[in-house]
Symmetry: C2
Subunit: 577 residues, 2 copies
């Protein structure tokens, strides 16, 4: 590819609105163009990289399922069958954009955020017997999610590229076996081939509302990752912050003298940060109390130390129920007598059990909501103001610094980006669609499903995040937009350096080696060499009078910076060199 024929250009300055390393580098190198917040266009060099990533994914997925291609829009009726038209909070819908369009057709559709609701009826059409199972298919397609504030370049967007695989089974065991024995190894092969194997770990995460099976996340360690993962050295396993078993590090002086309890009026002050500032106390001395209603009709309270969040899944397990939701404003008022934001564990009706997180243990003179609108109780102490709980639980979302209960030591914690996830979906979708199969005994049973995502554009962003230096991008060979970047240093196209470089370019093209050729010889040498570094092709070859004098061309390996002079024949003769 001649650089003069490429319409894109590199830019020195950081993009004005670049919000992350990947957006900054990919924009400056001319790989992507931000069409709007969270929505990027892939320019020729960038699209080459994306396509190569998707080809690696395709080759590995072809070993475990058939490729297909589902539409981006689908009927709302499909989503209503599982209630997901309402429950998926990032869902987009589509309808006529103007009066003329609405006159043509006034229907609305869903713009797919994921494709369970599209693929289930397709498999239902073909699968009827246990003999048809298991089966699996995947696609590589754009996905659309109405993110509130997309800000991590191509790591998380409103429109992004994803490989999504779906599998169908006679039982949960069979699906879980497929997940671990078939899908997981295929994912591992993908990340190995993309050069991310060393940094990518498997983390257990919540299975969500569909199943008790944990889901499996592939997390690539990356400073700008949105996720926090916790390494349990004892079991050699990673957990995501939602499900990591953890104990809060102790806080406060257990021997502190107990001060008299006070009820303080702080009108409209409800957030932890705001409250701590108002009370002039450390936020860890505050207590967050939330009221929940469980699926079996109970009401209970959960408390965590200021700075922590309640994890509803852990709380469900502790309370022994299947699902919970925050109590309504009216119910909070009824139970506490106060508006939302002032609930506290003291003085609640007797039938409202309080679950105390271990982060609240051992504190002196702590704060609680007073169960009166605008009021907070301070200098609360166990024993004196409220009975010391018989048991403290782990009902929190993990934080950096938390203790691993199985070792007693703080977890090794790192930031990571979720590049893949493997879910057990149970029978949630098959039941919504009435998708059953006939088993060996002629009985109708619901089909078990799994879904397995891999964000291909996110992977590209993660590679940009971790594989670069101060000069620009450093692409692994198998996904680089080209293998070689040739820079002739010449005054005219008749100069020997140019004609020799062109010979090299043509020779490489004949061999099927992808090449960028910088034919913009009227540009400054420095800028052209800087462009090569910024674009980040694995091998840069400079052809100049000086290198020719030395008997060849200068080959520089982008990743190591290693330079050497090689004869033209040697460069061409050995594709691998």
């Amino acid at each position: 590819m001649l650089l003069s024929k490429l319409f894109t250009k590199t830019t020195k300055e950081s993009a004005s609105d670049s919000s992350s390393i990947n957006a900054d580098l990919l924009t400056r190198a001319g790989f992507v163009h931000k069409t709007m917040a969270g929505v990027y266009s892939y320019l020729p060099l960038g699209y080459r990289v994306l396509r190569k990533i998707e080809q690696v994914v395709r080759e590995e997925m072809d070993t475990i399922g058939s490729e297909m291609f589902m539409p981006a829009i689908s009927p709302i009726e499909n989503w209503k069958k599982t209630g997901r038209d309402q429950s998926v909070s990032v869902l987009f819908s589509v309808s006529g954009a103007n009066d003329a369009s609405k006159k043509l057709n006034d229907s609305s559709y869903i713009l797919n955020a994921t494709h369970e609701d599209v693929i289930t009826p397709i498999f239902q059409h073909f699968v009827s017997s246990y003999k048809d199972l298991p089966c699996a298919a995947y696609q590589i397609q754009s996905k659309f999610r109405n993110e509130a504030r997309p800000k991590s370049g191509i790591l998380r967007g409103r429109e992004f590229r994803m490989k999504d695989l779906y599998s169908f089974h006679v039982s949960e065991e069979d699906q879980v076996h497929y997940l671990h024995a078939i899908a997981k190894p295929a994912y591992t092969r993908v990340f190995d081939r993309l050069g991310l194997g060393d940094r990518t770990v498997i983390a257990l995460a919540s299975g969500g509302e569909f199943t008790k099976e944990p889901s499996v996340e592939f997390q690539t360690k990356c400073d700008n990752g949105e996720d926090l993962i916790f390494y349990d050295s004892k079991s050699d396993m990673y957990y995501n912050k939602e499900i990591v078993p953890c104990k809060a590090p102790k806080w406060g002086d257990p021997n502190e003298e107990e001060r008299p309890r006070e009820d303080v009026v702080g009108e409209g002050i409800i957030g932890v940060e705001e409250l701590a500032a108002f009370l002039k106390v450390d936020k860890q001395s505050t207590t967050k109390t939330l009221l929940y209603e469980s699926d079996d009709g109970r009401f209970f309270a959960a408390t965590v130390r200021g700075g922590y969040d309640v994890n509803e899944e852990k709380l469900c397990a502790v309370a022994g129920c299947d699902s919970i939701k925050l109590a309504s404003v009216a119910k909070v008022k009824e139970v506490t007598g106060a508006d939302v934001g002032y609930a506290g564990p003291i003085g609640l009706p007797k039938d409202v059990v309080v679950y105390w997180d271990d982060s609240t243990q051992g504190r002196k003179n702590f704060e609680c909501g007073a169960n009166k609108t605008n009021e907070h109780s301070i200098n609360i102490n166990f024993g004196r103001d409220v009975d010391e709980p018989k048991e403290f639980y782990d009902i929190k979302v993990g934080r950096d610094g938390d203790i691993n209960p199985s070792t007693g030591e703080p977890y090794e914690v790192c930031r990571a980006s979720e590049v893949g996830n493997l879910f057990s979906l149970g029978t949630r979708f098959s039941e919504g669609f009435g998708f059953t199969f006939t088993d060996q005994d002629g009985k109708n049973k619901p089909v078990y499903m799994g879904s397995y995502g891999l964000g291909t554009s996110r992977v590209m962003g993660v590679i940009a995040e971790i594989s670069h230096d101060e000069h620009g991008l450093i692409w692994p060979e198998n996904i680089a937009p080209a293998q070689v970047h040739i820079v002739p240093i010449a005054k005219t196209t008749d100069d020997e350096a140019y004609t020799e470089a062109m010979k090299l370019y043509e020779g490489m093209q004949k061999k099927g080696i992808e090449c960028l050729f910088d034919d913009r010889i009227d540009g400054s040498v420095g800028a052209r060499l800087a462009d090569a570094d910024l674009i980040g092709v694995p091998k840069r070859i400079v052809v100049s009078p000086k290198t020719l004098e030395k008997g060849g061309v200068e080959v520089k390996i982008r990743s190591t910076g290693k330079e050497e002079i090689l004869a033209l024949d040697a460069v061409l003769g050995d594709k691998k060199k």
Copy 2:
């Protein structure tokens, strides 16, 4: 690919809602699944075909532009710059699908029907000088159009696949040169490679509102095509029905005796068909009269014989204006004194010129609207009731049977499907976005643009429409889902016929020949052979005790039906045979 591993199945019955040959065949063969009206999922075999078509397109487009990938959603602001948010009648918009989603982000976006409004600002970002021009880029992406009643399978859908190329130039001449000398030959190569060369012709069509340059359509002759194309044997050129120069064949007896004029009341009767039935006359004796307002503020009337439609572009040329629109209801009432539907050429205000189409010439006792609500004048005659027009024009949309004015003979007319189109866009978009370049003299000038579409999913549908027989699909070799379909006829997998067939399959896989292997040996032989015909892979190989006895396997060519027994080695030894 083992057929037992493919989740799709063929079906004997026509799909219940199959509305066209392509939908029927592709659905029965398990290539596509209708997700909703106008929206199809591509199943594994179908997606293989689509990807192969897109790869052929990609290879040819790579010779004339760089591949990129733009998003499916874009900011409404972009579309407002050219007023296309309102003027594109098939445009979809996107917004949060439920309250939770709207709470996250309440913005709306456009779901792209085409990408001029997305690519223009991208090129504007990179192009500033004449030195950067010309340049071109293309993508292969899904497109979304809010069609009123999609009904031709994958020929025309609400979501479909398209290759769209855009080029940018210093002048209209340069763009027109690119269109004819660069884009057109690349398109020709695509259709040749797809086996459509013989049936695909270039037809001139309207340039639309953007330019006076005609657009160029690639039309594949096809009985179910939506378009009608007209062959001018004199110039060896095709025209589409919008711009074909044509004369209506004469109708009626010029010597018929003139009957007395009558004004007939027919309440609410306005359509040509309805009117002819009501009046008990041939519809060709009726006259359609429409009132237009031109961009320069004139009002005029256009008349065509019943059964014809007015072509606004031809009318513009005749009236000498740039654009026209139908007069408003109020204006029609003001000018004619009647409601819409009753306009006629007699008795209009003097300043309202009437353009008579040649189809109205030579009739006796014809009908016209009476310019009174609910009234029609019949037995109108030129000379007696209205002056014979000095000139008759060609202001109609062509119809089958129309006369070629340059030969005096009826046109050879055929149905065709538009598989590609090449448009000159002038400066419409660059002016909307303020996209200029600096010319050699340092002057700022607007960039000239062209856009060049090719519907890849439509091409797949067209091939299904034209390449099949009563048994099923017949795929050309280079886009077939596989090259060979092996059917072992055996009772168990230990039978010689099965093991020999499997050897063949494995041998072909090693050679990189794509193979379907029908391992469903518990199925009936007849059904399995019928499946092979329906799926339509170029070569079917049956391995049975009988063929082995004859010394080999039976090879049948799907397109010719030719069968022969070949030794296993011969089949494997020669990939081409």
